[in-house]
């Protein structure tokens, strides 16, 4: 029973969504299933939060390696959750001065807005920006013209790197933009690579992925693949 009901729900949801895509009369069914999905996605936030607490509390309790990071995660999670949920110190809306919860909680005047602006925003931006340093280091150590494929990749990378900046325009500025060899201007080569070679390759990959998704989805809907239930089958 513990597994039969989830299997039935999965099969029913999948079949309804497939039917709704092909039969206009059943369009509403698909819409209803999508709304249920959206509601469940909202509930998933609670489950996600619960799971985060469980995993990190266990790490702290067992004093596993790096448990200090878990403490930071837990403190950050609880503080953000608290100030967001209770709208702590949110200035009331002008129209409702007596309702302390009615104001704009994302404003930097509120603790939630302040934490977002001065902690969350710079931290996430920093993490993403760090990629530039690691990519540069990796480019120096790993990008080697070892064979024909690597040389082709390297050449394409150079054209794209130059073509996405003014350097590409400047380097091939001597080629007449309306002349017979205008396609050799680096910015034009970039466009050709992106819209011809890249598009052809991406389409092939996407068609392959789509066929794989159809096959996997059918397995899930028909109950052949039960790995999402935590089964070892």
């Amino acid at each position: 029973m513990k597994r039969t009901i989830p299997l039935l729900i999965t099969a029913l949801g999948g079949i309804v969504l497939i039917i709704a895509s092909f039969i206009p009369f059943t369009l509403d069914w698909g819409e209803k299933a999508s709304i249920w999905f959206d509601i469940l996605a909202g509930v998933a936030f609670i489950l996600g939060g619960g799971n985060l607490l469980k995993v990190h509390l266990r790490k702290v309790s067992d004093k596993q390696a790096g448990f200090g990071y878990s403490i930071v995660t837990l403190v950050a999670f609880i503080v953000m959750l608290y100030v967001g949920l209770v709208k702590w110190d949110v200035p009331p809306m002008e129209a409702h001065p007596n309702s302390s919860w009615s104001g704009e909680y994302r404003s930097v005047d509120s603790p939630f807005g302040w934490l977002y602006e001065y902690a969350f925003k710079p931290l996430t931006a920093t993490m993403f920006a760090l990629l530039a340093f690691y990519v540069a280091s990796a480019a120096f150590r790993a990008f080697r013209a070892k064979n024909i494929e690597a040389i082709l990749l390297l050449g394409t990378a150079f054209i794209i790197l130059l073509g996405r900046t003014f350097a590409g325009v400047w380097m091939t500025d001597w080629i007449d933009p309306d002349g017979p060899i205008s396609g050799l201007r680096i910015e034009n080569m970039t466009v050709t690579i992106m819209s011809v070679f890249n598009t052809a390759g991406m389409r092939a990959i996407m068609i392959g992925i789509a066929l794989g998704i159809v096959s996997t989805s059918l397995k899930v809907i028909l109950g052949v693949d039960r790995s999402y239930l935590g089964s070892k089958e």
Binding site: D38, F45, A125, A136, F140, F143, R164, F166, M194
Partner: protein, 295 residues
């Protein structure tokens, strides 16, 4: 010398990257930009619509990618406001509302104070459910969005009258940093309702190659990363320039609308550094291989 480069400490590379990005930022270096056909296609789709057209703007990105996508979000908002289009903001990312706030506070409130909330623009806020949200709003927007971001009943918002689904909008402009984003809007909106939902967008550089196969049928155009944003900014500023008086007392383009153009400076130097590093790494590789063969 060879040994130094062969065993180069990666902190030297980090320092070079820091300098190559920091120096052009500090010097405010800019380079001329020419709009590509792709940026032109995006611009034309917005520009050709008559005044008062309904534009849905899903901002599906976060502060991590704001450096790359923020300038185009600003430019899209400015272009729509200049054209007096009705703007419907929404988000599929939890911090999307903050990105919407940024655009509203940066563009609409200071430069278009005549635009009224609920009449000319509305913030519908964030809804969880990823592509599930798109599936619903393309058929019945009010089924999911019963209120706007501030909690106002959707039926009490004047500009929501006559907007029952995304199909009632004249254009969707999606700015996306990943999942859910451009791809999901293509799969569940513009592909499902061809001709009814017209989609253009902007995305990060990593996503752009994945979106090209959808152009021009399922997507009319896309701005790829800061380069796409800079080209689009150029088009917008050429057609709808906004000047301010700078510190020297001269008239200059408002810097907040040329942010992407300024970011092309660091991008140029950083890209050149990458090329130099790759070439340098390969020289070391080939010299080592040659020595190995001789030994």
């Amino acid at each position: 010398m060879f040994e130094f480069f062969k065993t180069l400490d990666r902190r030297w590379i980090f320092l070079l990257m820091l300098l190559s990005v920091a120096v052009p930022i500090l010097l405010q270096t800019t380079f001329p930009e020419k709009a590509s056909a792709m940026a032109q296609a995006v611009f034309d789709e917005i520009d050709k619509l008559p005044e008062g057209s309904k534009i849905l703007l899903p901002f599906d990105f976060d502060p991590a990618s704001e450096g790359e996508l923020g300038p185009m979000a600003t430019a899209f908002t400015y272009h729509c406001a200049m054209k007096k289009h009705k703007m419907y903001f929404m988000a599929l990312w939890p911090v999307g509302p903050q990105m919407i706030d940024e655009a509203i506070n940066k563009v609409i409130r200071p430069d278009f104070p005549e635009l009224r909330y609920g009449v000319d623009y509305v913030n519908l806020g964030f809804k969880p459910g990823n592509e599930g949200v798109i599936r619903v709003v393309v058929t019945d927007l009010k089924e999911l969005y019963t209120t706007d971001d501030a909690g106002t009943n959707i039926n009490n918002i004047p500009m929501m009258q006559g907007v029952d689904s995304v199909r009632d909008c004249d254009l969707v402009i999606n700015v996306s940093a990943g999942y859910p984003g451009n791809k999901e809007w293509v799969q569940y909106a513009s592909t499902a309702y061809p001709g009814e939902i017209i989609l253009v967008g902007g995305c990060t550089g990593v996503q752009a190659p994945q979106m090209y196969p959808y152009i021009p049928n399922q997507m009319k155009g896309i701005l790829g990363a800061i380069k796409g944003a800079a080209e689009y900014e150029k088009l917008v500023m050429d057609h709808y320039p906004r000047h301010i008086t700078n510190a020297e007392g001269d008239q200059a383009l408002d810097p907040k609308y040329t942010e992407a153009l300024r970011r092309m400076g660091p991008q140029l130097i950083a890209h050149l550094l990458m090329i130099v590093l790759i070439i340098g790494g390969n020289i070391i590789f080939f010299v080592e291989r040659h020595r190995g063969m001789q030994a």
